[in-house]
């Protein structure tokens, strides 16, 4: 499973990098940037799902 971030949907609510700072960070404007590449391990997957489930814009999808 990987993180798919739709930058066009991201509006900078900042929930992902607050809840999963190991996976996401903020750019200079407050929009999300993914910090990891490739397949997620077990702990990462849990954090990624938490971040995705708190994104008000549905900008994050965890999938293949």
């Amino acid at each position: 499973m990987k993180i798919h971030l739709d930058a066009d949907k991201c509006q900078g609510h900042g929930r992902c990098y607050t809840l999963a700072p190991e996976l996401f960070e903020s750019d200079d404007l407050g929009n999300a940037v993914v910090r990891v590449e490739g397949e997620l391990n077990g702990d990462q997957l849990k954090a990624a799902n938490l971040a995705a489930g708190n994104c008000p814009e549905f900008a994050i999808v965890i999938g293949v």
Partner: protein
Amino acid sequence: MEKQPVLDFATDFDHTDPTWVADPYAVMEDLRDRCPIAHSERYGGMWVPVLQKDVAAIANDTEHFTSRNIIVNNGRPGEDAPPAPIGVAPPISSDPPFHAIARHLLLSAFAPKPINALEGYSVELCSSLLDAMGDRNEIDAATEYTQHIPVALIAKMLGLPPEDGDLFREFVHIIIEGVDLPVEERIAAFAPIEQYLSAVIDDHRLNPREDLTSYLLNAEIAGQPLLPEHVFGTMVLLVVAGIDTTWSAIGSSLWHLANNPEDLARIVADPELLPAAIEEFLRAYAPVTMARLVKEDFEFEGCPMKADDWVLLSFPAANRDPEFFDRANEVVIDREINRHSAFGLGIHRCLGSNLARLEMNVAIASFIERFPKFEIADSAGVTFSQGQVRGPRTLPIRILERA
């Protein structure tokens, strides 16, 4: 002029009606079951969707809805009419494509890094407000605490004298709660704000400094400095949007904790719960409702919307929609999945959301650290604001335990 009380919110909606002000959630619930997009002839025509899907769709539809005016009032601005007082406050009142340019100028100032740098100041501020309460056991948490915090932060960011706080609160009150005033009175009430902010801008032109006002005066769009009305409008936005809103959010959170001792005790015992609890307070007691104007006649979900009709975009209603949230009407302080829209949705996501969250976290953590047990001293003495920003304006609290 005395307003007629609302008999049926489905056909005669009014967000200043005492029934709505007393308990908007019961009205929303009733509407969801029988008429999920309410209508009103008041304010020149208004629609009020209460389902999350409709609120989200409208927030994301800048083709059919304009943000030219975002506070419902008795004026009904056509394209050529002069903008209502709060009409020109970029970027909140801007549409694409100008919106993105005006917003981009401000985003970096409100990104996590510069905002988190204000944490130390916020902690000191809250601590001094709590100190000022002395050893009294009955306090008004709204007038002695919550209302001072956002004013001080925005004043610091804009480079305004901190002692002017009472003055801004009066400005904001007129703009946000004075929606029932006739248009001429609303415009007249705006004059002191204009004078005050113009003086601040002039002073910053002569004496530039390291603050957001000077930043705006130095900012450029396509190599040109911002127009004076752009600088002024953005200052109005930052003063208005940053004050009542966060004051309300902090106040509603403390109001909840005062009414729910088990939630308070859980957070006191485990302060790591606080950030999730704050998100839940933002969901359940979202303070801000925005508005849009319909651009041209068109049908939305079967509703025949007319050009210049208002749409009241109730994020509080979206946040209580049981189709979208489990246990929507309960406050679950450790809710794990919480896609609330307290800060809006789409391109107008609240610019100050990082600042608001910082203020809420510091204000509530400081308060409960100092007073780990408290309750409402007089429930009849709790009053809520009317209009598009909801929160306690008086909040009598009895302190039961001190740290």
